[in-house]
């Protein structure tokens, strides 16, 4: 009786069970800024979680501390962020149990790229920025696209206000178009990096409805991670 399949009983087929009009993605907003210094890295993200005109939460951190020297900032589709970061945590724990040491920031950066590319044809819809201290003790920032392209950068802005913030960082941190001689360029200090990062968020909150409420800033040095929170517009 193998010829009797559901196709022969069209009356009993429940159409729409596969729900083809469903979209698996949703933009939940948020922005990240990361700046690498000589012996430190600063990463900042706002704490607003929204979709459309609704604000779900004003206190959702988007910074994930993966190791004592590595912090991942992740925005975009929040359900993908949750899945990706918990998968990263699991894989880092497996590495720790296998090799009896914590993954370096460079290794995490590479693994994140591979983990994202694994979903090449159903991507994690996220904007990731990884900041930390590398194996030589230098501050590093890696930025990613949703399918896993990884790039080492000095400073990077991502998320909904990323395009708004990146030129500011290029100018203020990398001193682009400043017509300065090499000897006149100041060395980037921690204080300067933190103040530029918080200022960019105050500006972004003025123009981007998906960025606001609070900005959480983490300063990563070899001695540990310092955390602070600054108020942003809440409207």
């Amino acid at each position: 009786m193998s010829f009797l399949s559901i196709d022969h009983f069209s009356d009993y087929k429940v159409h729409g069970a596969q729900r083809p009009d469903f979209s698996p993605y949703e933009s939940n907003g948020g922005s990240i800024v990361a700046i690498a210094g000589d012996d430190f890295a600063v990463i900042a993200a706002d704490t607003r979680l929204s979709s459309g005109y609704s604000i779900h939460s004003r206190t959702q951190t988007k910074l994930f501390q993966l190791s004592p020297l590595t912090v991942l900032g992740s925005t975009g589709c929040w359900c993908d962020t949750l899945s990706l970061t918990s998968l990263m945590r699991v894989r880092m724990q497996m590495y720790e149990h296998t090799h009896l040491r914590t993954m370096t920031t460079d290794a995490v950066a590479q693994m994140l790229s591979i983990t994202m590319y694994n979903r090449r044809f159903f991507p994690y819809y996220v904007s990731n920025i990884l900041a930390g201290i590398d194996k030589n003790g230098k501050g590093v920032v890696f930025s990613y696209d949703p399918i896993g392209h990884c790039e080492n950068a000095k400073c990077r802005a991502g998320g909904t206000a990323g395009p708004l913030l990146q030129p500011v960082l290029d100018n203020q941190i990398q001193l682009k178009n400043m017509n300065l001689d090499e000897k006149d360029k100041p060395i980037l200090t921690k204080e300067r990096a933190v103040s530029v990062a918080s200022d960019t968020f105050i500006s972004a909150a003025e123009r981007d409805i998906y960025t606001g409420d609070f900005v959480e800033i983490k300063i990563i040095t070899k001695d540990g991670i310092e955390s602070m929170t600054i108020n942003l517009r809440k409207d």
């Binding site: 729900r19 083809p20 939460s57 206190t59 959702q60 589709c77 359900c79 949750l82 899945s83």
Partner: protein, 269 residues
Amino acid sequence: MFNNGIVQPLWYNGPSPGQFYNFPGYANNGNMKQCHETNNSDSTRSTAMITTGSSVLGIKFDQGVLIAADTLVSYGSLSRFQNIDRIFKINDNIIMGGGGDFADIQSIMRSIDQKMIEDQCYADNIAMRPKALATWMTRVLYNRRSRMNPLFIDVVIGGIDENNEPYLANVDLRGRAFSDYVVSTGFARHLALPLVREKKPADRDFTLEEASELIRQCMEVLYYRDTKNSSQYTVGVCKVKDSTSNQCDVEGPFQVDEKWSFAKMVKGY
């Protein structure tokens, strides 16, 4: 199948002899949109949801959480089941409120009930905590959305965590989850959430009295303004009993105290 063109339809918009009634979500031609067009239906409900529960509202207070939902389960715009409890006691630490497709809620509740039986079988005096259930829900819902076959539900999970702190979270059909002092689904997100946020003292949590008064006010607003709400609602309460145990109850049904005296003043409709 038996319609050979001779048999006339039995009544307008009804099934032909030997055929089935045209239920929502069921199309003879396999196309939901065409199904709507041939029915001349002007409703814009989602083709995927059939029996739906409306808003759920959860508020955290200093000693626990409250989760409220009305007792109506709709079938399109028909108020089909008017006395269904959408707040569930999971165990002594967890309560859950469910909105969205009620069949999907019942399906996930069967899985959760089975999990709780397994949890009790260990007889180790360790009961599941709300965060564990919320995380498990994100995995189930995320996997279903990744297979493009989602459970059309939006749930609020609350209770007391392992540090005896109140915990309140929302998980939606994609597996998006977050925790906050007030969470809501459906129309309550637009109507009730701002009312609760407005009343939140900056320096402390709500008390039980404040939280239950807010629930009462919000359910009244939802009843007046959301067409898919009924005047009857139930409230789940989960609170710390002592340092080693918690108490969860589903209270009600309560009735919104309707005031329609203003109705005769309304002109222009």
